[in-house]
Amino acid sequence: MEIIMSILAGILFTIGIYNLLQKQLLRIVIGTALISHGAHLFILTMGKLKRGAPPILEYGISEYSDPLPQALILTSIVISFGVTSLLLVLAYRASKENNTDNMDQLRGNENE
């Protein structure tokens, strides 16, 4: 299962990067969101999948799944949410100010 999950994470990375390489602002934001998903899946796979109970202590259970990657992912989810929302608003304002959402037209040209 871990192999399949690794491949899935790889596919999410691939599509995220592909979106990142586009010209439209929004596709770039979509790309970052996909890369975040891939990264979370990646971290989860690094722990063992499906070993033991959910990490909530109960009497009589000795085997739990690894809580540490889960804590890390939880932190990461929140941070990537903050970054994504910031990027979104930034994209929105940038395209409103410059009347374009095409990255090719949003270049700085002062040194060319």
Binding site: M1, I11, I15, L26, L34, T45, P55, L57, Q70, I77
Partner: protein, 777 residues
């Protein structure tokens, strides 16, 4: 000793205050006593039984860098030149520079230079020597660009700076290598370890690097091009820096390291070879110049080449002749520069084509110039010191050490002829300099000023130098045993006793001198006939053109290179970053056999998860092909919810919860923003770009997959999570382990994650509220 070196720098700190009264009293008068005091202090060391001694002061003990000052004959000769000519130049500049000039600046730079130069010749520690060496480059740069409102001054200053600093940095490289090989930073210790250095595999590199420093500083071919352009400096500066002191720093360096390298034959080949080429080229080009200072600049280049040639010979007699000529050249060249400055000052022109017949107007200057130029030409008269050293030069060029290499053998036979050839041209330009300026018919109407004799104060310094020329000419042995013998001993490493005499009898050097005088006179008289030889080398092959081409070319190509990859396109940058990651990681993983797959210890595969995975992949692919905003958001949401479902499968309740909530909010946000944004257009990229993008993306995805599988397959350590499981209840007081980790075991992460969210919120608020309502210009 420390005081003697640093006192000019100390006085320089007070110059700005003293230059406030420059209307009442010329700032130079205050400065005059500094080099004079140093000169008098060092005069006391002259004597037949002088022994080297050193003073050490701690500076950076951890790096073995200390202010070691070592005074031997060679240093003493240079110190006396620097302080003596420094005194005369300061005196001269008092009359040369008008009070309306920025005197404070001038004397601060000059004193800074004096300290730097004293430091160069007295330092025994290579790194201290290097520091002073660069300080001479900097102060020389400031002095050349003294009239910074002239474009030519700035050009000359920059040129000298670039070339000398380039050499200085290579020299530092050589010093570092020497320090590593010998384990010491002291020059004297290095000289005592000559065998170690000579057997080191780095020997050619060390010598090349150090010689680069010496050649650039001493204006040897092909690095001589900065010196003629440095003539834009005020004349006192040219007289001081570019004839007597700074350009001899390279000579000093070669002389100082001579004891190490003389037995190495390539030292002779390179130093004497470059020296003789410089001698011939400089004297040949000097005849072509029309500017007095231009002639003197090329003359300096050729004379430095002559000294360099002698240092390369490596015989005792040559060492003696070299130090003798260092002294002689400083005397007559300094005075000639000062005379050129006087002519410029009193007639307003330095163009030799406009000058002529000044003898009647400026009799004293003419007399001084007569002695100076004849001494430079090496005319065989007993009261001209230039003749003595030139004679010695011929003498030593005939008695070279035996050569083993073929090229050295060829040079042995060729050098005397080249020496005579260069000296002939030296004779020609010396005659041209004197007769072209002071005899012939005058062009008074064309000159900016009516020429008349210079003020007496201006004449003191050149007169003193010419008196030096004559005294050394008449009684050459007064400087012999007391000063020159010690200096030559420092170069050759053994005692040198050489008697200087005017008359050697009818031997080869005398005939060489006579040939020089006869052929030189003929060439001078017929100089208009052979002017066309200068057209043999076309102007576009000149070294200045090459320098400018290198400078412009490097600027142009670096701009081209930068513009080629810094094109402002974010896609290009991301692609570059990803490709770099791919190259580095893949090579690392392949060279260390990092990619491994272990199929044991895997969780079992269930259909539900496969299904979710397929849905996620399809949805992710959908984002690439979506045209409609809302559709794009929804399918991105599908990926997020799919991930949440996976979290459920993998026993992560908190994660699933958070992921659901966050994904919902994100989708809502996206909808808010996308509603106002233009629709997702179909991409208009070429197939090629799409292919490149896809290749990069697939490469990265494959890399991450392989890394994930390999990391999972090679577990080297047991997990630390057991600790959390065991202690969550007892230490953390909670049963939800993930939450205990977040707020107890690893609470700081959470604190700053909260900060991140807060900052994002504030930034979003700012971006939506703060608008430039005045409109974008």
């Amino acid at each position: 000793m420390l005081f003697a070196v640093f006192i000019p720098l100390l006085i320089a700190c007070f110059i700005p205050y003293l230059s406030k009264f420059k209307d009442k009293i010329h700032t130079g008068i205050f400065v005059l006593f500094v080099p004079l005091a140093i000169f008098i202090y060092f005069l006391q060391f002259i004597g037949n039984n002088f022994a080297p001694f050193s003073h050490n002061y701690s500076w950076i003990p951890s790096l073995n860098i200390s202010l070691d000052f070592y005074l031997d004959g060679l240093s003493l000769l240079f110190v006396l030149l620097i302080s003596g000519i420094g005194t005369l130049v300061t005196l001269y500049s008092i009359f040369y520079l008008h009070k309306s000039e920025r005197l404070g600046h001038f004397y601060v730079y000059l004193l800074m230079f004096m300290t730097a130069m004293l430091g160069v010749v007295l330092s025994d520690n290579v790194f201290v020597l290097y520091s002073f060496w660069e300080l001479t480059s900097i102060s020389s740069f400031l002095l050349i660009g003294y009239w910074h409102y002239r474009e030519r001054s700035r050009y000359g200053a920059l040129k000298s700076m670039l070339i000398t600093v380039f050499g200085g940095l290579s020299m530092l490289g050589g010093f570092v290598l020497l320090t590593i090989i010998t384990g010491s930073t002291s020059i004297q210790v290095m000289i005592s370890q000559t065998d170690v250095i000579l057997h080191s595999p780095y020997l050619p590199l060390i010598m090349a690097l150090i010689l680069l420093g010496a050649f650039t500083k001493s204006a040897q071919f092909p690095f001589h091009i900065w010196l003629p352009d440095a003539m834009e400096a005020p004349t006192p500066v040219s007289a001081y820096l570019h004839s007597a002191t700074m350009v001899k720093a390279g000579i000093y360096l070669v002389a100082r390291f001579s004891p190490i390298f003389t037995t190495y034959e390539w030292f002779f080949i390179i130093v004497s070879g470059i020296g003789i080429v410089t001698l011939v080229w400089g004297s040949y080009m000097a005849v072509r110049q029309t500017d007095l200072k231009g002639i003197l600049a090329f003359s300096t280049i050729s004379q430095l080449g002559m000294i360099m040639t002698m240092l390369g010979f490596g015989t005792k007699a040559a060492a003696f002749a070299a130090v003798f000529h260092i002294l002689n050249h400083a005397t007559f060249k300094g005075s000639l520069f000062m005379v050129a400055g006087i002519i410029d000052h009193e007639t307003g022109s330095r163009d030799i084509r406009k000058l002529g017949g000044l003898m009647t107007f400026m009799p004293i200057s003419a007399t001084l110039a007569l002695f100076g130029t004849f001494s430079m030409a090496g005319v065989p008269l007993p009261f001209l010191n230039g003749f003595y050293s030139k004679e010695m030069f011929f003498e030593t060029s005939l008695h070279l050490n035996d050569a083993t290499l073929l090229i050295a053998e060829i040079m042995r036979t060729g050098i005397p002829y080249l020496a005579v050839f260069g000296s002939i041209f030296t004779f020609v330009y010396s005659m041209y300099l004197f007769f072209g300026t002071f005899t012939g018919k005058n062009h008074i109407d064309e000159l900016p000023k009516k020429p008349h004799e210079a003020p007496l104060g201006m004449l003191i310094s050149p007169a003193l130098l010419i008196i030096g020329v004559i005294i050394i000419g008449l009684i050459p042995n007064i400087v012999n045993e007391s000063l020159l013998a010690h200096a030559a001993q420092a170069i050759s490493g053994e005692e040198v006793h050489q008697h200087i005499a005017f008359w050697h009898g009818f031997k080869a050097p005398l005939f060489m001198s006579l040939i020089v005088v006869i052929v030189g006179s003929i060439l001078y008289v017929l100089r208009n006939k052979w002017k066309n030889t200068y057209l043999l080398i076309p102007g576009k092959l000149s070294l200045n053109k090459a320098y400018n081409a290198i400078l412009d070319g490097s600027e142009k190509y670096s701009r081209k290179i930068t513009n080629s990859y810094m094109n402002g396109s974010i896609r290009r940058y991301i692609a570059l970053i990803i490709v770099a990651i791919l190259i580095v990681t893949f090579t690392t993983m392949f060279t260390t056999n990092g990619f491994t797959i272990k199929m044991d210890d895997l969780a079992e595969v269930t259909a539900a998860e496969i299904l979710i995975a397929i849905v996620m992949v399809v949805a992710a692919l959908g984002t690439v092909f979506a045209r409609n905003n809302v559709a794009a958001i929804l399918i991105l949401g599908v990926v997020g919810y799919g991930l949440a479902v996976l979290f459920v499968f993998y026993r992560a309740p908190d994660l699933a919860l958070t992921q659901l909530v966050v994904e919902t909010i994100t989708v809502a946000l996206f909808l808010l923003c996308f509603y106002h944004l233009p629709n997702l257009r179909p991409r208009t990229e070429s197939v090629k770009t799409k292919l490149v993008n896809a290749t990069i993306a697939i490469g990265f995805g494959a890399l991450m997959t392989m890394v994930a599988i390999s990391a999972h397959s090679s577990k080297w350590f047991t997990t630390i999570s057991d600790y959390f499981v065991e202690n969550s209840h007892d230490l953390g007081g909670g049963d939800n382990i993930v939450n205990v980790i977040l707020v107890d075991f690893r609470g700081i992460d959470t604190l700053f994650e909260i900060v991140v969210l807060g900052i994002a919120a504030l930034a979003i608020y700012g971006m939506t509220k703060l608008r430039d309502d005045k409109g974008v210009e």
